[in-house]
Symmetry: C2
Subunit: 321 residues, 2 copies
C-alpha cells in the first residue's frame, strides 16, 4: 500500500485541462493497490480515481485493461468506468508514466469474509464472466499454467531457502498439475486476481470489483479456483468447506458449472495456489531489505499448496473423491 508517484497540484491542473471535468476540488493519494499509485480525485463534476501505472504494468496492456473496464461498465457490471478526455483518450501521461481517470466505485472490501460474503462474491464473479462475454480484445495469461515450470526453474534456490526440501515437493506438485491440467474447459475473460481486497460490498451485498490489471483469457473455472484460495482459507490455514460451497453455489446461481468444470476444480485450485506461491516467492527474493513495500508472505501459499496436495477433494466440498 503506497503512493509511488507524487502528483503536484500544477500537474493535476494540466491533466484536467484536457477533460470536461472542471477543476479539482480535492485530491488525495490513497493506500490502495500495491502495484500502482492511486488518487481519489474530486472535481467540480464528481468523484473519480486517478491511477498512475507503475513498473509492473506493461503499457501495451493498458488499452486491454481500460477497454475491458469500459466494456464491463457498459454491460451492467459494477466496476470503475474509464473517463475519456475531450479528444476521446482514456490513457494519459503524467510524470512520464501512463495514467487514467476512472469513475469512483463506492463500496468496502471485507477483511474476513463470511460465508454470505463468499456466496455474494461467487455470484459477482459469475456476473463478471457473463458481462465480459463478447469483449473483442484478448490477452494471454502470462502467469498461466504453462508459465509455472519455467518460473520455478529460477526459484529452486529460493524455495530451498524458504524451507529445506521444498524444491522437490514443488516439482512433484508441478508434475501432477501439468499431468491433470484440463484443456477444453469453457474459457473467456477472467479477473485473475479476485481477492477480497478487490471486491466491494455495500450493506452485505456485492457492489463491484476493482483492479483488473491481471485480467486475461483463460478457463473461467480457473478464476473460481483463484477465488477459492483467496476467500476460503481460515487464518489458521484450514480450508473452510462451507465458505467454498457457498462461493461455488453463489457462482452457479448466475452461471451453472458443467461437469468437466466441476471435476477440474481440485487441480485448478492446486494450480491457482501454485501461481500465487510462485509469484510471491519471486517477489520475496527480489525485494531488497528495507524496501518501502513488504512482499507478501510466500509461506501462506506454500501452506495452501500443501492442503491441495494432501486432500484435493476438499475443494469438492469434502465429498469422497
Amino acid at each position: 500500500m503506497a503512493v509511488y508517484t507524487d502528483i503536484s497540484d500544477q500537474e493535476l491542473a494540466e491533466l484536467l485541462a484536457d477533460y470536461d471535468l472542471g477543476a479539482a476540488v480535492s485530491f488525495k493519494g490513497v493506500a490502495e493497490g500495491v502495484e500502482n499509485s492511486n488518487f481519489l480525485l474530486e472535481t467540480e463534476a464528481g468523484r473519480y480515481f486517478l491511477t498512475v501505472y507503475e513498473r509492473r504494468v506493461r503499457p501495451e496492456d493498458l488499452p486491454f485493461f481500460l477497454g475491458l473496464m469500459r466494456w464491463l461498465a457498459e454491460h451492467g457490471y459494477p466496476c470503475a468506468r474509464p473517463v475519456a478526455d475531450r479528444a476521446g483518450r482514456e490513457l494519459q501521461i503524467v510524470r512520464g508514466k501512463p495514467c487514467a481517470i476512472v469513475e469512483f466505485l463506492p463500496g468496502l472490501s471485507v477483511r474476513r469474509p463470511s460465508v454470505a460474503h463468499c456466496r455474494a462474491a461467487g455470484a459477482g464473479l459469475a456476473r463478471l464472466h457473463l458481462a465480459a462475454a463478447g469483449f473483442p480484445q484478448a490477452r494471454a495469461n502470462d502467469l498461466g499454467e504453462a508459465a509455472w515450470a519455467p518460473l520455478f526453474a529460477d526459484l529452486r534456490d529460493a524455495a530451498e531457502r524458504l524451507k529445506p526440501g521444498l524444491a522437490a515437493v514443488v516439482e512433484a506438485d508441478l508434475a501432477t498439475i501439468t499431468a491433470d491440467w484440463p484443456q477444453d474447459l469453457p474459457a473467456g475473460i477472467i479477473h485473475a486476481d479476485y481477492f477480497p481486497d478487490n471486491v466491494f460490498f455495500q450493506a452485505g451485498a456485492f457492489a463491484g470489483a476493482i483492479d483488473f490489471y491481471f485480467a486475461c483469457n483463460d478457463a473461467l473455472a480457473y478464476d473460481i479456483a483463484i477465488a477459492l484460495n483467496a476467500w476460503c482459507f481460515e487464518p489458521d490455514g484450514s480450508f473452510n468447506v462451507t465458505s467454498a460451497r457457498a462461493l461455488v453455489a453463489g457462482y452457479e446461481t448466475v452461471r451453472p458449472l458443467s461437469d468437466p468444470e466441476r471435476a477440474a476444480l481440485p487441480v485448478l485450485a492446486h494450480g491457482a495456489a501454485m501461481r500465487f506461491f510462485l509469484t510471491r516467492l519471486n517477489d520475496w527474493g527480489a525485494t531488497p531489505a528495507g524496501a518501502l513495500v513488504r512482499p507478501k508472505d510466500p509461506l501462506e501459499y506454500e501452506r495452501k499448496l500443501a492442503v491441495h496436495r494432501a486432500a484435493p477433494d476438499l475443494v469438492l466440498f469434502g465429498a469422497p473423491g
Copy 2:
C-alpha cells in the same frame, strides 16, 4: 505518508454504530499526514475523515486539539469540524488507539506556492488567530523557544555528524536567539505547523487549514515566522522577499501587526528555523535505516538557519537593518 493502523470493515462498523452517520459506503486509507493514520470515510450521511492518533500525539492533548477544531469551525474558520457520537463523545478508541471522525474539508494544497498563494495563506493565518480568540483551553508550546537549548544538548553529536563544525554554529545561534527573543508580543492560539501541505486552496483562494496537532499558545507573530520559513524559500535555498512581503501583507489585511511584532520578525524567523532544524535533526538520528517513513532532511532547515544568521533583515523584506 503512511497508514500505520489498519482498520477492518468490522471494526469500522462497530465504531460507526455509536454515531448517527449511517453505514459506511466507502473507506480508504489516505497518504496524508506523517504523524497519524488517516482514512477518507463516506457514510450514508456524507463524507468524513477518520484519524487514528499514533505515538507522536499525547492522548491528554487530544481534547485541546479537537476542542480547538470545533471552536474554529463554530467561529467561521474553514477547518474540519469533529463529529460527536450519540453520547456526545468526539474521541473514540479503535485497535487500542485514540481516534476521531471529523467532517471532510475540500481543497488542495499547493506544492510550489505562488506569491498570490502566499498572500492568501497569510490572510488565512490571521483569520485563524482571530477566530481562535476566546477559545477557553490552553496548551503550552512544548517545542517553543525555552525547549530548544535543552533539545540541542542531546543533539550536538548528531549536528557534528551532519556537518562538522555545525554544533558551535548552532550554539551561537541559540545564544543570539535567546538574547533577542521578544517577551511581550500579543499571544494566543497558534497553528505552529502552518506549512503548504496543511493549507487548502480552491480556485486559488484560501479554503482552510488542517492538521492542528501542534497547535498551542505562543506569540501570534511566531506563527507568521514559521510560515515565512515554510512558504517563502525557493527550492534553491534562496529567500523570496516578494513572497514574504505578500504573506505578511495578506496577514495584515485581516490583523495588522504592531511595531514590536514587526520588529521581532527577524529573530522569530531565526527561531522558527531553529525549531524545525532541531526536530528534524532529532528525527533523522532516531529513524532506523529501512524504516517505512523517511525522515525530513534536517539540512533544509540548516540552510534556512544560515540565511537568517547572515541576513536577519531579509524577513523585513530587504529593508536596511
